[in-house]
């Protein structure tokens, strides 16, 4: 039942950075707050972007909505990665063995890969698609995958504490 965490993660948890996170009264709660605020920003940006790609708000020119939303999502993702690494470091050895965390980490990788892979096709489509014209199927598929993956990431993030 007790599996060994990778030595690297045991070392990370036991590092001076790990000690500092655990011993500071405010660092860990601050990272927790930053993580959930980052999630709210990220979910808003991703939701607007993916829904527009899927055909919502059709009266808008896609590029005018999707470009700033994609930039905001990327910025929010950086905030979540930074705050998340603080939360992770404090308990790296335990968390890395948590099956829901493993699921979440894999899905984060999938979500980022999906977003990067669709980038070129999305940029091409945004350069010449006017309002009311559907975006290409390839781009819409990626948006549907994105919504499903990121919502599952959010749910699994909250569920880590219960497994």
């Amino acid at each position: 039942m007790n599996m060994e965490a990778p030595a690297l993660l045991v070392a990370l948890e036991g590092s001076a950075f790990g000690d500092a996170i655990r011993q500071s009264v405010w660092l860990y709660p601050t990272a927790n707050v930053a993580h959930v605020v980052g999630l709210a920003l990220f979910a808003g940006a991703v939701g607007v972007m993916d829904l527009r790609i899927l055909g919502a708000f059709a009266a808008t020119t896609p590029a005018n909505v999707i470009r700033p939303a994609r930039a905001a999502a990327a910025a929010a993702l950086v905030l979540m990665a930074l705050s998340g690494s603080v939360l992770f470091t404090a308990e790296a050895s335990h968390i890395s063995l948590n099956p829901v965390f493993q699921l979440k980490a894999a899905l984060v990788g999938l979500g980022i890969t999906n977003a990067l892979l669709v980038g070129p096709a999305l940029r091409r489509a945004l350069s010449d698609t006017p309002a009311y014209v559907p975006l290409p199927g390839r781009v819409r598929t990626a948006a549907a995958v994105s919504l499903a993956v990121w919502l599952t990431v959010a749910a699994s993030g909250r569920l880590i504490a219960y497994f």
Binding site: M1, N2, M3, I21, R22, Q23, S24, V25, W26, L27, Y28, P29, A90, E91, H94, I95, L97, N98, P99, F101, Q102, L103, A106, G109, L110, T113, N114, L117, T141, A142, V145, I160, A161, Y162, F163
Partner: protein, 115 residues
């Protein structure tokens, strides 16, 4: 290509090893215990303050609140210091027979709520 990638990652997920983690959902609230004894180790750390307490039956790992909440409740680091005698009422873990999550603690006649 994206479909192949998704299939690959889903296949990888199915082979993930099962972990061993003490989550908050895994405490037996139907069978509360009171652990009384001397504090042997004390970590006043995030995400939860944890003690080990030598009781008559075993050495318990006692999980308390986060440090910030402990401080607002008046359960400062010196209250849960090594050597103090503590009484901790709470729920035993269903995963680790030697761990419990305290609902409240009493030290030197004063009771502190953890929730």
């Amino acid at each position: 290509m994206p479909h192949a990638l998704i299939a690959l990652i889903l296949a990888a997920l199915l082979t993930l090893p099962a972990g061993a983690h003490h989550g908050w959902g895994s405490y037996d609230a139907k069978n509360p215990v009171t652990v009384v004894g001397k504090i042997e180790t004390s970590k006043f750390e995030n995400p939860h303050v944890t003690l080990t307490v030598r009781a008559s039956d075993r050495v318990w790992t006692v999980t308390l609140a986060p440090p910030s909440r402990m401080m607002t409740r008046g359960a400062l680091e010196n209250i849960v210091a090594v050597g103090n005698t503590i009484s901790a009422y709470g729920y035993p873990s269903t995963r680790d027979a030697n761990e419990m999550r305290a609902e409240r603690i009493t030290v030197a006649g004063k009771t502190y709520e953890m929730r």
